[in-house]
C-alpha cells in the first residue's frame, strides 16, 4: 500500500452490506473481483471525473484505485459498505494523480474573485438578494450546469478542498489528512473557495438575472 492510501483501513467508517461477495473477494477470487470492477467502476469514474478534468486521467485514477483496493482487501473488515470504501479510495487515487502532476502545488491568486470592500469596510456593489429557480427540471439542470462550470473556474487547490468538504462530505481533519496540510489551511482555503464560487455564481443567481 502506498503512502497516499496508507490511511484507508483506519479511516473508513462502516456498515456491513456485502457478506458473501466479500468472502470471495478476500479469498482472492478473480471472478468476484471482476464483478466488483464492473459494478463499481461507473460510480468511481464519475467521482474521479470531478477531481480530474481529463477523461484519461480519470480512468488512470480508477485503475489506481482498484489496484489499491485489491491490495487492501485482505484487511478490509466490511465495517463500511464496499461502495463507501471504494469511494474514499477513488478520491485518494485522484488526489494522488493531482499530486503527481503537481497540480495541487500551483497557488493561483483568487483575489479577483473575493469580495471587494470600501475603505469604511462596507462591500462594494453589494447587489440584490439571490433568486433560486425552483421551477422546471430543465431550469434546475441548467442551474446545476452553471454551478459545475463555475466550480471548474476555481484554481485546483481551492476547487479540490471545496469538493472534499462540500461535495464528498469529508470533515476538516479528514480533508487535511487527504491533502497533507493542516486544519487551518483547509479552513482558510475552503472559505476563500466558497467566497470565490459565490462571486462566480452571482451573475447567474443574483437578483435580476435570468437564471
Amino acid at each position: 500500500m502506498n503512502a497516499e492510501n496508507s490511511d484507508l483501513r483506519g479511516k473508513t467508517e462502516v456498515r456491513s452490506e456485502e457478506g458473501a461477495p466479500l468472502t470471495a473477494l478476500r479469498a482472492g477470487d478473480p471472478a468476484a473481483f471482476e464483478r466488483l470492477v464492473r459494478e463499481h467502476a461507473p460510480r468511481m469514474l464519475a467521482v474521479a471525473r470531478r477531481y480530474l478534468r481529463r477523461e484519461d486521467d480519470a480512468e488512470v485514477a480508477v485503475q489506481d484505485a482498484f489496484v489499491s483496493a485489491h491490495r487492501a482487501l485482505p484487511g478490509f473488515q466490511g465495517e463500511a459498505g464496499l461502495g463507501t470504501w471504494l469511494h474514499r479510495i477513488t478520491v485518494n487515487a485522484a488526489l494522488g494523480l493531482l499530486r503527481r502532476k503537481r497540480r495541487l502545488e500551483r497557488e493561483t491568486s483568487l483575489e479577483d474573485l473575493l469580495p471587494r470592500f470600501r475603505s469604511d469596510g462596507h462591500r462594494e456593489a453589494p447587489g440584490l438578494p439571490w433568486v433560486e429557480s425552483r421551477e422546471s427540471r430543465l431550469e434546475q439542470e441548467e442551474a446545476r450546469r452553471k454551478v459545475r462550470e463555475a466550480l471548474d473556474q476555481l484554481p485546483e487547490i481551492h476547487r479540490t478542498v471545496l469538493m472534499l468538504r462540500d461535495i464528498d462530505g469529508f470533515d476538516t481533519g479528514e480533508t487535511a489528512t487527504l491533502l497533507g496540510i493542516n486544519d487551518n489551511a483547509v479552513k482558510a482555503r475552503l472559505h476563500r473557495a466558497r467566497l470565490a464560487l459565490r462571486t462566480l455564481l452571482e451573475p447567474h443567481f443574483g437578483g435580476g438575472s435570468d437564471a
Binding site: 471482476e34 485503475q63 485489491h70 491490495r71 469596510g121 462591500r123 453589494p126 438578494p129 459565490r198 455564481l201
Partner: protein, 85 residues
C-alpha cells in the same frame, strides 16, 4: 463590526465556532446590515448549490464503463507486484 470583518469570519460563524461575544457582535451587525443578511443567504446558497450540482439524481453517472477500462484494471491487477497472494 464592519461588513469586511463579518465576511472574514463568516465560515466560522456558520459552523458555530466563535465566542459568545463574537456571535453577539455579529448579531448586532446583521440587525443593522441587510446587505450582510443577503450575503449570508447567498453564501449558504453557494454551498448548497455546489453540493447539489454533483450529487443529484441527474448526476452524470455512466451506466456503463468502457470495456477497455475494465480490461486495463484486470491487467494492472495481474501485473501488480504487491498484490496479495
Amino acid at each position: 463590526m464592519t461588513c469586511k470583518e463579518f465576511i472574514d469570519i463568516l465560515d466560522a460563524y456558520l459552523e458555530g465556532g466563535l465566542t459568545p461575544e463574537q456571535r453577539a457582535e455579529i448579531s448586532a451587525h446583521l440587525h443593522l446590515c441587510p446587505e450582510c443578511v443577503d450575503y449570508i443567504d447567498s453564501y449558504r446558497f453557494t454551498i448548497r448549490a455546489a453540493r447539489d450540482c454533483c450529487c443529484g439524481a441527474e448526476d452524470p453517472v455512466p451506466t456503463d464503463v468502457p470495456e477497455e477500462l475494465v480490461q486495463a484494471v484486470l491487467a494492472a491487477l495481474k501485473q501488480d507486484p504487491d498484490r496479495p497472494s
